[in-house]
Subunit: 149 residues, 2 copies
């Protein structure tokens, strides 16, 4: 197997064509990572969630990391890592336009809202649903590609 | 789609049968997440890497998060999250036995060492290879399961 760096262009292309990734946040030094559905547009990835631990932590510390991979086999894969800042998109004010963009981008997938908006039964009680649209700036992006020898 | 919590037993079962996950670390509030190959044994997940950004950050701050999922479709998946502490396993001293265990567990897969040990060509130069065995304690584990309605 041979691993090489992806160019910025190739990394951005994989980001733009992907919809599923892993988003990490951190609170008081404790990292936390969850799968997420997203869509890329013009230097931001847009996502949707309901308020919960991930959103609480990102509100406290907006530094985020998104990892996306495309795996064909154990020896053939591409993986990119984005570092950026979380920004919540409210219904009014400056972020209204970005929120509308998030909605348009995300709802191109039939089930886009479900993982974020489905009632999760916790300890026998459905948790309250507070819909949250957000975006993360693509401040740094790096990528690697593995190919079999 | 319906999302419910997994029991601790079901979460531990998924962890024990899995080999690929996403490991997050954090440095000065910046989270960082990479795919990782691992093997579970007795309250620890064992992994192998070469020294690089992930290992540097985990040496500074051992708080780690491992996420593992098993996805059948967009509406049918299981996902678990482990919080724990990173511990490096040296060739000598107290961690020698754990390092031998890591080797035995990991090398059950033919290509286990490749993503960690393959020379990565960065800026035209192969990066130095310092093999690192580590483990992360399973201090907390939670899981969720989605099923179509």
């Amino acid at each position: 197997m041979h691993i090489e760096e992806l160019t910025r262009k190739a990394s951005m292309e994989l980001l733009a064509e992907s919809r599923l990734g892993h988003l990490a946040c951190a609170n008081n030094g404790q990292p936390y990572v969850t799968p997420c559905y997203f869509a890329y547009h013009d230097q931001y990835i847009y996502g949707f969630s309901t308020a919960g631990q991930k959103i609480e932590w990102l509100r406290k510390n907006p530094l985020a990391c998104l990892q996306v991979d495309k795996v064909s086999s154990f020896q053939k894969w591409t993986s990119i890592i984005v570092l950026g800042r979380y920004e919540e998109l409210s219904k009014t004010g400056e972020s209204q336009e970005a929120r509308e963009r998030a909605y348009k981008l995300l709802h191109q997938h039939e089930f886009w809202w479900e993982p974020g908006y489905t009632r999760t039964v916790l300890h026998g009680e459905a948790r309250p649903l507070e819909p949250v649209y957000y975006r993360v700036s693509v401040d740094e992006i790096t990528g690697h590609k593995a190919t079999p020898n």
